[in-house]
């Protein structure tokens, strides 16, 4: 695909999402789909973060902790300090990035299963901390978070107050899709630039990368920080949409799901996490019909999938790119 073709496809995709889908929903009256699709968009942002850590050769099962942290940062700033939601979005991301730098410094040199273990415990510890620390209001969580307020720059209203909108769901949907597009665009650019090559060199041979002057620790921490940033903003948006935040909002199971999203979508492709999130989320949702058997069937399908396709979904779709 040439660059022009890629740009055209991207625009077409966005058009479908931003225009086609709302038309479809208003025609069929399924406005509950807004929440579903918004969730998919946000979860794919968070999963993209996990994908980036895969890209530097680490298995990250701790993203739930950063989503949780991002959500709480936004919730606390909005409810207790009256900060505009739109400002809390980048703040949440940056604070998560900062936290990940602190955590990353000792653990990023670990590899494989060891690194995965540490990040897994991070997910659980985040939940326990949210339960224990007073500022997060413990198990009761933070509720009744007001809808995002107006965003004005120089007196011009860029984004109206969500409370004034007739259909805030549509507004959240549009915001999330745009955010997702932005994130994936940035990720795509990152991966195809020199930085992406450097990460690849890290992944393949750390010693050789060192010998050509790549500062391995720095790159790893940078990637991890960006990854957590994505987790943070995803979590913050979730807080705004669900208007609540509980210690159980993001936990170990979610971290595992983010990893699953990446894996299923294919670890070699930037759009992998988006596809994986979509499939898994709708898969899980569809299974809701089965009631108590939902988890059983879901996990069985996953097990079968692992047995049959140990290398992810997209690896079968684009065989010509499957070189490794």
């Amino acid at each position: 695909m040439t660059t022009q073709q890629k740009i055209a496809s991207a625009f077409a995709f966005l058009a479908v999402l931003l225009v086609g889908v709302p038309l479809l929903i208003s025609a069929t009256g399924r406005s509950d789909l807004y929440y579903t699709l918004t969730s998919v968009a946000l979860l794919s942002i968070i999963s993209a973060g996990v994908w980036l850590t895969f890209y530097i050769g680490r298995i990250n099962i701790g993203q739930g902790a950063f989503a949780l942290m991002g959500g709480y940062v936004s919730a606390i700033l909005v409810t207790q300090y009256g900060v505009s939601f739109w400002l809390t979005l980048p703040i949440a991301g940056l604070l998560c990035a900062a936290a990940s730098v602190l955590i990353g410094l000792p653990i990023l040199r670990l590899r494989g299963v060891y690194f995965a273990m540490v990040t897994l415990t991070l997910s659980e510890v985040a939940r326990l901390t949210a339960l224990a620390v007073p500022i997060t209001n413990g198990a009761k969580g933070i509720v009744n978070i007001p809808l995002p307020s107006r965003l004005t720059i120089f007196g011009i209203t860029l984004i109206p107050d969500f409370a004034t909108l007739a259909n805030p769901r549509l507004a959240f949907y549009v915001t999330s899709v745009l955010l997702m597009a932005l994130c994936y665009l940035a990720l795509y650019r990152l991966v195809n630039s020199r930085i992406g090559r450097i990460c690849q060199s890290l992944q393949q041979n750390e010693e050789l990368a060192s010998s050509i002057g790549v500062n391995i620790s720095y790159i790893r921490i940078l990637a991890f920080a960006i990854s957590s940033f994505l987790g943070g903003i995803g979590g913050a948006m979730f807080a705004a949409i669900t208007q609540s935040m509980y210690p159980s909002s993001f936990g170990v199971a979610d971290s595992i799901n983010f990893m699953l999203n990446c894996f299923l979508g294919g670890l070699g492709y930037v759009l992998g996490p988006m596809l994986g999130t979509f499939v898994l989320y709708f898969g899980w949702d569809l299974l809701f019909q089965t009631g108590v058997f939902q988890l059983l069937i879901y996990s069985s399908i996953l097990i079968i999938l692992m047995l049959v396709l140990p290398n992810g979904l997209l690896s079968i779709r684009l065989p010509r790119q499957k070189q490794s």
């Binding site: 670990l110 415990t121 326990l128 097990i303 047995l307």
Partner: protein
């Protein structure tokens, strides 16, 4: 003070058993058994059924837990982990499989036993009271049994033929194969053994703390913490990790009681600092 130590020891013995199971599986197959906590819960529920519901003697119930989990472990290894490990070059696949299995066992437990907390009648009534410590008899009994099991396990691994085969396998897979160790068979035995240990602890502890379907995940995490502290893949490390975590929990619960449940946050921060200095845990095989 002595009370704290006594509690720590008691907890430590249980935790060490859990960690031993996990580390054995890790040493043999380089697989992190995410479902370890769920196996513990399953063991608890089996004992609950056999001892609590059917009224059979407690030791029989615990034995049933062990056997059930050994069977479950063997099946999982032979039909799930074994094939996937052979087919896939990526570590993520086995990890995701482990996660999926954990979900699966969680689902089964929910379906069979529901969400409620279950308990069983005390196995020994009464409390040991002295000037320095107070400890219910059943805890002492369970602690002693756990310690005995740890000793038995260590001896088994050290001196028995399967034990030696498994240790060879853990050290160097290829060399072990060349020496005639049936890798497939011993992987299965090892996994079954690891699962059995988890089941046994579950069975023992259901008599004291009860069991419910939701604690599987957190227990897996605790097991990982122990293995990280003590070092993955090493028997001594698992035991050390188990006792250290037990002790830290005991200390934390007593000292930090006023600050809310920050015990685990503190443990985690300490772990971060510890891992910066010693990334492989106390005795671990170099990894990474």
């Amino acid at each position: 003070m002595e009370q704290v130590i006594a509690n720590g020891l008691y907890l430590g013995a249980q935790y060490a058993l859990i960690a031993l199971g996990l580390t054995l599986i890790f040493a043999l197959m380089n697989v992190l058994n995410f479902a370890h906590g769920q196996m513990y819960v399953l063991g608890g529920f089996v004992t609950y059924t056999v001892y609590g519901q059917l009224g059979l003697p407690f030791p029989v119930a615990v034995l049933c837990s062990g056997v059930t989990l050994a069977a479950v472990g063997a099946i999982i290894e032979k039909f799930l982990f074994g094939p996937v490990i052979k087919r896939s070059a990526r570590e993520e696949s086995t990890m995701l499989l482990a996660a999926a299995i954990a979900f699966f066992i969680d689902a089964i437990i929910l379906l069979l036993f529901g969400e409620k907390q279950r308990g069983v009648p005390k196995i020994i009534n009464g409390v040991f009271i002295s000037d320095i410590i107070i400890m219910p008899y059943d805890r002492i009994a369970v602690g002693v049994v756990a310690a005995a099991m740890i000793a038995a396990f260590v001896l088994y691994m050290q001196y028995s033929r399967p034990g030696r085969a498994m240790r060879a396998l853990a050290q160097d897979r290829v060399a072990a194969q060349l020496m005639g160790v049936n890798v497939d068979r011993y992987s299965m035995i090892g996994f079954a053994l690891g699962a059995m240990l988890a089941g046994l602890v579950g069975g023992l502890l259901v008599s004291i703390t009860g069991v419910n379907s939701g604690i599987g995940g957190p227990i897996s995490i605790k097991a990982f913490l122990m293995v990280m502290i003590g070092g993955a893949g090493v028997v001594g490390g698992a035991i050390a990790g188990g006792f250290i975590l037990g002790m830290m929990e005991s200390v934390g619960l007593t000292l930090l009681r006023n600050f809310g449940d920050v015990t685990y946050l503190v443990i985690f921060v300490l772990l971060m600092i510890f891992l910066s200095i010693r990334p492989n845990g106390l005795m671990g095989k170099p990894w990474g």
